[in-house]
Amino acid sequence: MTDAPTSHVIETSGLRKEFRSRRGLRVAVQDLDLAVPAGGVHGFLGPNGSGKTTTIRMLLGLAHATAGTMRLFGEPVPQRLPAVIDRVGAVVESPKFSPHFSGRQNLLLLSRSIGAPDSRVDTAVETVGLAGRDRDRYKSYSLGMKQRLAIAATLLKEPELLILDEPTNGLDPAGIREIRETIRGLGASGVTVLLSSHILAEVQQVCTSATIIGNGRMLASGPVDELVGASTTYRVDVPDPDAARRVLRESGFTVGDDLVVETDRPGDVTRSLGGAGIWLTGLTPVRRDLESVFLELTAGAELGGER
């Protein structure tokens, strides 16, 4: 824990978590080096059982790391967690509140435990759209309302870092959109958001950067645009596809069956076809999405880490 602090809000180095049981040893997280820069929304992706939640739980002091180091805001955790926990809001797995208390009572207890004024509960409830239902018992809430309450709880601290583990689980489409906008807004306002999710479209829409893990290991990390990569394939639209395919192959291009051409110089495609008297009606870049990157990286990933 003697490394110099950096500008990253979250850093882990060589992080490892083992679970021992009668069935043997299971490694949930291994040698994970995670770096989340300050500001923006960072996606944390991985298949179920890949170690996302375990990593988050270790960062928040709910689980102890077997090996490795972690830092939040440059402070080593869990040693200095009390010094930074007030700057971190988090929803870990499913929302966990006392079912017999109202949503408001649950928030009041959490709010008072950090010495925040009760008025902050009103603001948080208003922000997540629970006003009017906040005095109902938590156990009467729908899953979506429980998620909203959990997000309201994170806002009680006015956090600089928000860690959200599958925050849109159980929300209806309108709710998902609302939460997505909230997350985007928080990211834009300077709050760093770590968004753990396996809904890739959601991550791609909201996140500026992402880390993909599988089997407890980091598979890729960086800005979403870099992860997806610059487009190197183009779909060619012409009146005579067979003639175009023949011309392009003769010109040395690799052409797929659906007239998709791999090249980093699309101008050459236009020139070759024009030279043969074939005029393009369309040349469209075929973008890879995060889903295809994710599936490529996590292909064959065994659930639940190594045993």
């Binding site: 926990i85 499913s94 966990k96 509140f97 006392s98 208390f101 009572q105 649950n106 207890l109 601290k157």
Partner: protein, 309 residues
């Protein structure tokens, strides 16, 4: 710390199962007290009249069937005189209320037992719910210092348990004393003070039990597990002690009595006879203190080191 303990007090106040147990911890001693007051009430005129009437009936029966009553003479005058004399010692009697009697083998230990059991359950239920609902992890996201959270909850549980037990015990003994005053019964010098101290020692024991129940639940993370362990220990523990032939001074109830009564006595085999021995208060405190310290220590260490679901 105080602020956190106040939050825990609020949590306790909002938890209905805990409130129900605390209400029972008031109601049952009140019922015990009412029952003691009722069963020691002075005989009424009607009861005295009924009693005298019954005696007259018995005398008449004796006069009619003297042999059945052991009267051998045949002289009617002497029969009546003998029968009347035989039954003249019959007096209506009901044990009057006495603070000393209630402390020594009366209802005092019953009140302590009720308070102890209910407050132990309250401590267990209070924190068991945090584990059952999973809200413990949420609380740790707001107060990550685990020892501090453990201590705040312990302070709330122990404080409430002691305050409630002390008030109930004090009210119980003052109530009995007031009834004795109203009945013009003599109260020995220092008996009220002894009773109040007895109540406070009982309250301390009940509060320690609540702390123990809380600590055990933080260790086992389940109310059901805690109740199961306590039930198992209370049943199997006595059997094991009996089978092993462990001396009476190691029986749990003897040590409770030693604490609450500021010392008690027990019997120990001496040769072919039994000798009465003193069991001082420190023996009881040591007996339960070691168990409490071990439970609390294991609970704190476990809460600090184990992952929280």
């Amino acid at each position: 710390m105080i602020a956190l303990a106040r939050v825990e007090l609020t949590r306790m106040r909002w938890r209905r199962a805990v409130i129900a147990l605390l209400v029972l911890a008031i109601v049952i001693p009140v019922l015990i007290g009412v029952a003691r007051v009722w069963s020691t009430r002075p005989l009424s005129e009607a009861q005295l009249t009924e009693f005298h009437s019954q005696v007259e009936d018995q005398i008449a029966d004796c006069v009619e069937h003297p042999r059945q009553w052991g009267v051998r003479t045949k002289d009617p005058e002497r029969i009546r005189a003998r029968c009347t004399r035989n039954m003249s010692g019959w007096q209506p009697y009901r044990q009057p209320l006495s603070l000393a009697s209630e402390r020594n083998g009366g209802s005092g230990m019953g009140v302590v037992a009720v308070l102890t059991a209910l407050l132990l359950l309250a401590g267990t239920t209070f924190v068991g719910h945090d584990w059952n609902s999973g809200s413990m992890s949420n609380q740790l996201l707001f107060e990550s210092r685990r020892r501090r959270l453990w201590a705040a909850k312990a302070l709330a549980v122990t404080g409430v348990a002691f305050a409630l037990a002390a008030v109930v015990s004090t009210a119980y003994w003052l109530g009995l004393w007031a009834v004795m005053q109203a009945r013009d019964l003599p109260v020995l010098d220092g008996s009220l003070a002894d009773s109040l101290l007895y109540g406070l020692r009982g309250a301390g024991f009940a509060a320690a039990a609540a702390l123990g129940g809380y600590a055990l639940t933080m260790l086992g993370r389940s109310t059901v597990a805690t109740v199961g362990v306590l039930f198992g220990v209370s049943v199997a523990g006595g059997i094991v002690l009996a089978v092993l032939g462990i001396g009476e001074q190691w029986q749990p109830q003897k040590n409770v009595a030693a604490i609450v009564k500021d010392g008690t006595t027990y019997y120990e085999q001496a040769g072919n006879d039994y000798a009465e021995r003193d069991l001082p208060i420190w023996h009881g405190i040591g007996y339960y203190g070691v168990a409490l310290v071990a439970t609390v220590g294991a609970s704190v260490v476990s809460f600090r080191l184990r992952d929280v679901p």
